[in-house]
């Protein structure tokens, strides 16, 4: 038992003090290393975001240029078919055929006005065909993707719906695919990249508001003046009203 200015300090207390000091030191070191890593990361994120901005601008200008070129030569420029879709469920859950119910579950559209991104391929297109009366979908543009992910982006972390308030949340889950910040995520979604599946699955289905200004007619297809089915680029306008 050590003597401390006349008082006897029990050994257990001394041991605990020493251990607490060790822990404090270890923690400080850990914090310092984390801070360094974070600042290095920040630079990287900044540069990536800059590159992406350039890339998007370049893409836009390229499209315009190709169109002008074609027009000049007297021909037409046809846009390549979209790779990315955004689907919104517009019908409720009652009185549904079990197969379509299952397909909507597989698409993660379990609630009305839920939205998900989707890659376009034969499989998904056929699935969409089956559930057409219950959803509306189209090709989102950069602004749509950005706004959706910034405003209503939530990630699936440990099976929980966690808000994307920090890049560390994204890095934690998608770091191994090279996606470390929200801009990376947006880029991966927009240009359906090699890890689209993981990135998209990480995003919890978007819970959108009912559209300001209303829908036209849920029960009809878009081409009939209603809302269901493929509305191609006009999905962006709907997203503006629902986000």
């Amino acid at each position: 038992m050590a003597e401390k200015g006349g008082q006897i300090v029990p050994e257990s207390v001394l041991k605990k003090q020493k251990r607490a000091e060790e822990w404090a030191l270890a923690k400080k070191q850990e914090v310092a290393t984390l801070k360094e890593k974070k600042s290095a990361n920040r630079k990287l994120i900044y540069n990536r975001a800059k590159d992406y901005a350039k890339e998007y601008a370049a893409q836009e200008r390229e499209l315009i240029q190709l169109k002008r070129e074609a027009r000049l030569k007297g021909g037409f420029y046809v846009n390549p078919e979209a790779k990315l879709l955004f689907i919104i469920r517009i019908r409720g859950i009652n009185a549904m055929h079990p197969t379509t119910k299952k397909i909507l579950q597989l698409l993660r559209l379990r609630q009305i006005f839920n939205g998900v991104f989707l890659k376009v391929n034969k499989a998904t297109v056929n699935m969409l065909h089956r559930v057409e009366p219950y959803v509306t979908f189209g090709y989102p543009n950069l602004k749509s993707v950005k706004e959706l992910i910034y405003k209503r982006g939530f990630g699936k972390v440990n099976k929980q719906r966690i808000a994307l308030t920090d890049n560390s949340i994204i890095e934690q889950t998608l770091g191994k695919h090279g996606i470390i910040c929200i801009e990376d995520l947006i880029h991966e979604i927009l240009t359906v990249g090699p890890h689209f599946k993981e990135a998209n699955n990480f995003l919890w289905p978007f819970q959108l508001s009912a559209p300001l200004g209303g829908l036209q007619r849920k029960r009809n297809h878009y081409v009939e003046g209603g809302d269901a089915g493929n509305r191609e680029d006009y999905i962006n306008e709907l997203i503006r009203r629902m986000n």
Partner: protein
């Protein structure tokens, strides 16, 4: 657990009488293993509850009670209920309801029977474990105090008294013994607490109640101390080999104050055995093992073995921050995307530039030629003519090199010389009008369908 030598020693309290002959200091006896057995209040409560049912006498109501009438129901149609009614007449009893539990003078619901199961069977081992627990509890001062015994003046628990106590014959001597060993306050407490029972029991041969005092346990059969101690209120006696749970844990509560004689105390080991040795007197009985050998949780937790591998305490629990919209809140946006600030700044600048450029372009196209006209109006008729000539001339020369226009000394065939500034003004206006007309010509061409004329001809198949 440990060898006999490692067992703690209990000092035997000496009485005045014979210890003088020994001449030695107080003897000491090793603590028997019974006192270190696991204390199991759950077993004790259960066993005590069961055992205390075994001394019950059956009670029941009379077999025939309520049925000693020949009552029969009057049936319906007589404006009375259908309960069986006493037959006959001439007395109050006639026509009264009978038999039912609801009737006055009727038999009770479910008349109590004597063949109710009054007694309970308990496994022998369980009974033994209960007694062992109770004995162990009697060695713990806090439990004994909690049970309510006055042991403040008792020198040691378990309290062992020399064998001289077994030879005590007179009650007065017994009281003296109790006083010597500090057990008198407990006995006194019992005496003071004698009171008439509350409730019907007082009329049922259970008139008085009092607290329990010490339990004196002796080892020799036929010891005189039984007769000496038995009349002291509160004090009870028991032989070691016949310890009763109902006395060791009265009311199912552990911690009776027990006074052992030395002989009895030494016998405990053979009666109950040790943790390793089987009991001699109870066939095949071994003391019960505790669930945890070391039940001191605080000590275990604070031990080196545990503390050395324990992780640091998490004092700050991270709470999820409220999500703020990055599209509206700039700081949150910057947290997510540090490039956003630069992008926004560039966008703003570009917008400002675009606006300015457009405005300039429009201004150029729409600017009216007001200066010359006002000046023109101030001149006299004569001068106006020459200025007009000069003006037209400069217009005609605009397609040629600008250099010629820069010469203010282009002379008029007129004696009037226009001032330098006027000439410059005229030249500026001229160039402005020229450029305006040029751009107008261009838009005229592009707005027309002339550019698509080639396509048109292709459709027609006509050649130009």
């Amino acid at each position: 657990m440990s060898a006999a030598a490692a067992r703690p020693l209990v000092t035997v309290q000496s009485l005045e009488s014979d210890m003088a002959t020994d001449g030695a200091a107080a003897n000491s006896v090793p603590l028997p293993d019974v006192m270190r057995a696991a204390i199991r209040p759950d077993i004790v409560t259960f066993v005590h509850g069961q055992i205390s049912k075994n001394a019950r006498q059956p009670y029941a109501v009379s077999n025939r009670a309520g049925h000693q009438t020949s009552a029969e129901s009057w049936g319906t149609g007589r404006a009375v209920s259908r309960i069986p009614r006493v037959a006959g007449g001439g007395t109050h009893r006639a026509g009264q309801g009978a038999f039912g539990n609801m009737c006055r003078g009727g038999r009770m619901f479910a008349p109590t029977k004597i063949w109710r199961r009054w007694h309970r069977q308990v496994n022998v081992t369980q009974k033994r474990h209960a007694v062992v627990s109770a004995i162990a509890a009697s060695a713990v001062p806090s439990l004994v105090l909690a049970r309510g015994h006055k042991i403040e003046e008792v020198p040691e628990l378990p309290l062992v008294v020399s064998d001289a106590a077994e030879a005590v014959e007179k009650t007065s001597a017994a009281l003296k013994v109790l006083k010597q060993i500090g057990a008198h306050p407990d006995a006194e407490k019992a005496k003071d607490s004698q009171a008439i029972r509350a409730g019907k029991g007082k009329a049922r041969n259970r008139r008085y109640v009092s607290r329990k005092g010490p339990l004196v346990v002796y080892g020799n059969e036929g010891a005189k101390l039984v007769k000496a101690f038995r009349n002291i209120p509160g004090v009870e006696i028991a032989h070691v080999s016949r310890l009763n749970l109902l006395k060791l844990a009265p009311g199912g509560h552990l911690g009776r104050f027990v006074i052992w004689t030395k002989y009895a105390f030494e016998k405990l080991d053979s009666i109950y055995g040790t943790f390793d040795k089987v009991s001699e007197k109870k066939n095949g009985y071994v003391l019960p093992r505790a669930k945890m050998i070391n039940a001191d949780l605080a000590r275990i937790i604070n031990s080196d073995e545990v503390q050395s591998v324990v992780k640091p305490i998490k004092k700050e629990v991270k709470k999820a921050p409220l999500k703020k919209n990055p599209l509206k809140n700039l700081n949150v946006m910057l947290k997510l995307n540090p490039y956003a600030k630069a992008a926004k700044r560039m966008a703003l600048l570009a917008e400002a530039q675009r606006v300015k450029a457009k405005q300039d372009k429009l201004d150029k196209k729409r600017k009216p030629i007001t200066k010359i006209i006002t000046y023109f109006c101030c001149l006299s008729m004569h001068l106006r003519f020459w200025v007009y000539l000069y003006f037209i001339g400069s217009l005609l020369l605009v397609s040629q090199s600008r250099a010629s226009l820069m010469q203010p000394g282009w002379k008029l065939p007129c004696p009037v010389y226009l001032s330098h500034s006027v000439i410059c003004l005229l030249q500026e206006e001229a160039s402005a009008i020229n450029s305006a007309s040029k751009s107008w010509y261009k838009t005229m061409i592009s707005d027309s369908d002339y550019t698509e004329f080639e396509n048109f001809t292709k459709w027609l198949g006509a050649s130009q």
